[in-house]
């Protein structure tokens, strides 16, 4: 279904949703934007040139979340899992595709994660495509795009004075019942903008045989080379929309067992009680990070575990660029696998 939304009607529309939903949208915080709840007087800014600093995965997997509460008698009970229905507005296609990737882990049948599931089921994602894709993003290289629809219930395309609203799922339908259908020229304009944005993006690195090159060179000096100036902080993993690793910790004073975002780039991540660490230095940890995204995700769900949002490129404190690392990986030797 294709509808048309005049830009000046947007603030009122968002406020009208608040009758039934919490509405999260990017808002100014210090020098960047951050998904925060819409209040009565929030200025609606959707002209931020790119995505938020912290990815909206934080709305599904909070930075810190209670899993279990301890009772006074040494027992345990499930943490509360009350979630208000919410709309995540102006989520970018890279971030929405990432949430869908994370679904494959959290909603996996054997041990479906109840905390993630509740939030996902109660969320409608209204995406805003990128008509001026950022320089550091590389979504098209990894199978996405500035107007990709994966993970979205609705996709908005900025066509000047208005948005083309493409309703993709049932969940998105009744947010826009007051809108008129879009005419053919609006639809055509939108499709042209979408195609131009896609074509404008450059190929950041080749993905052909990249998986084989990374996995067949486990002991290569390549890993020392790409990790040399890595500080070992968690910026890339925490700002990454597809990273989901978490630590579980008992907070005794609050009598809770919580999960916190964790990073495979930290030394303690795989440190064992005996003192042995399978990944003792930044070399092994960088290898794990790159291999997880560009080898193991593919083994598990046949998709690259990176959606090209560009945050790691922009905010790495030492300027490490994953695109350059992968271009370098393309120079590694490999053998084409003959296995079926």
């Amino acid at each position: 279904m294709n509808l048309i939304l005049e830009k000046q009607a947007l603030p009122e529309l968002l406020q009208s949703w608040r009758e039934s939903f919490d509405v999260f949208l990017p808002q100014k915080l210090e020098r960047f934007s951050h998904f925060m709840p819409l209040q009565d007087d929030t200025a609606v800014l959707v002209n931020e040139p790119h995505n938020t600093r912290i990815p909206p995965k934080a709305l599904f997997l909070p930075m810190t979340e209670t899993l279990v509460k301890f009772t006074r008698v040494g027992g345990y009970k499930d943490a509360e899992n009350e979630v208000q229905p919410r709309v995540v507005f102006a989520i970018r296609p890279c971030d929405a595709q990432a949430v869908q990737l994370l679904d494959t882990s959290f909603l996996e049948e054997d041990y479906s994660d109840p905390l993630w599931r509740e939030k996902r089921e109660k969320t409608v994602t209204v995406g805003l495509g990128c008509h001026e894709p950022c320089l550091t993003g590389f979504c098209t290289t990894v199978g996405g795009g500035p107007f990709n629809k994966a993970g979205l219930d609705v996709l908005l395309t900025d066509i000047g004075g208005s948005y083309l609203v493409e309703v993709l799922t049932d969940k998105g339908t009744w947010l826009f019942t007051t809108l008129q259908p879009a005419d053919d020229s609006a639809i055509e304009t939108a499709h042209k903008i979408q195609q131009e944005a896609f074509d404008r993006m450059e190929v950041a690195f080749k993905t052909e045989h990249l998986k084989e090159k990374l996995e067949q060179n486990f002991d290569s000096a390549y890993w020392d080379s790409v990790s040399q100036s890595c500080l070992g902080c968690g910026v890339c993993t925490f700002l990454c929309p597809t990273c989901f690793c978490f630590d579980i910790v008992d907070e005794t004073q609050r009598r809770e067992r919580v999960r916190n975002w964790d990073s495979c780039m930290f030394r303690t991540y795989s440190l064992e009680a005996s003192g042995h660490n399978p990944r003792p230095s930044r070399v092994e940890r960088t290898r794990q990070r790159l291999s997880h995204k560009f080898v193991y995700w593919i083994d598990q769900v046949n998709q690259i575990g990176c959606t090209g949002c560009g945050r790691c490129v922009r905010y790495c404190p030492v300027g490490l660029d994953i695109r350059a690392m992968l271009r370098q990986a393309q120079t590694l030797p490999f053998e084409v696998s003959h296995a079926a």
Binding site: G74, D78, F106, D110, Y111, I248, E272
Partner: protein, 285 residues
């Protein structure tokens, strides 16, 4: 793992039935736990398979992954033998009969017993990693299941005789004609009647035949590292050599990411892997 409608992160409430030291130096302690709720007990044994593990929870300290050390026929309890190592295992050691505790489990894949039916089993254990092999032995050795398997050979090595676990059963198995048992310690001791030497060397000495045989090895990483090639030398194919792996674990259900070996999670796709499967995974242990 059944969690009866509860969150998979919430431990099943249990109590300590029995607690006793296994080793003379008190570094190894066995806890036998009973279920507070009958429904949990029933659900547990519906899916339980030797080789699986549980996450034992001490509220306020955390959780520790431990191999299940009993066979289902032994009764409505779950046994674990714990080596005192870090903050959680120290807290577990402090528990006594009547104390509350939580478990999450059974977790992991366990030994592929269906595939092993009709085969001879060579069970090789070292140190405290023997606990799941003990569960396996107790299971296959039981009269209800014995005929499903061929010859049983057990090889169990510990640093000293005092560190040997489950001494009562081990002593009985020495007398049991149906079981070929080889016990080893690292250095000679007075009155020691069995092998002296490291497990990989004892494996070579015993030289079990690979014909229609599956070998399963559980031990400290250094022992496993040298035992697997010894079995390959003896003619065992990688598809017929199995081991159980360990890594730092938190969620135990394949969600938190940390126990991965390549695309596999040790908690969910393992902890039991064949050597053939391991050869296809990165050396990230």
């Amino acid at each position: 793992m059944q969690h009866n409608g509860h969150s998979p992160y919430t431990p099943i409430p249990m109590h300590v039935l029995r607690a006793y030291y296994e080793s003379t130096d008190r570094s190894l302690k066995t806890l036998e736990l009973s279920f507070d709720r009958a429904a949990d007990c029933q659900a547990f044994f519906e899916t339980f398979n030797p080789g699986q593990f549980c996450l034992l929870s001490v509220a306020g300290k955390g959780e520790s992954a431990l191999g299940i050390a009993n066979a289902a026929w032994e009764g409505d309890f779950v046994r674990f033998t714990i080596q005192k190592m870090g903050s959680v295992t120290t807290a577990l050691h402090a528990l006594k009969a009547g104390d509350a505790i939580g478990i999450r489990g059974p977790l992991g894949n366990g030994f592929p017993l269906e595939d092993w039916k009709g085969k001879n089993l060579v069970i090789i254990g070292g140190g405290c990693a023997f606990s799941t092999l003990y569960a396996l032995t107790k299971h296959v050795h039981h009269q209800d299941y014995r005929d499903d398997y061929g010859k049983l050979t057990l090889l169990y090595g510990t640093r000293t005789s005092g560190l040997c676990m489950y001494k009562h059963d081990i002593a009985a198995w020495h007398e049991d004609e149906d079981m070929e048992i080889h016990q080893a310690i690292d250095v000679p001791e007075d009155n020691w009647l069995h092998h002296v030497g490291y497990v990989p060397d004892v494996v070579r000495q015993v030289a079990p035949s690979p014909a229609n045989t599956v070998a399963v090895v559980c031990g400290p990483p250094i022992m496993t590292k040298f035992t697997l090639p010894a079995l390959v030398e003896l003619g065992f194919s990688p598809e017929n050599i199995f081991t159980s792996l360990e890594k730092r674990m938190k969620c135990g259900i394949g969600k938190c990411g940390r126990c991965n070996l390549g695309p596999k999670y040790i908690c969910k796709d393992g902890p039991v892997f064949s050597l053939a499967e391991l050869n296809a995974l990165p050396a990230d242990l």
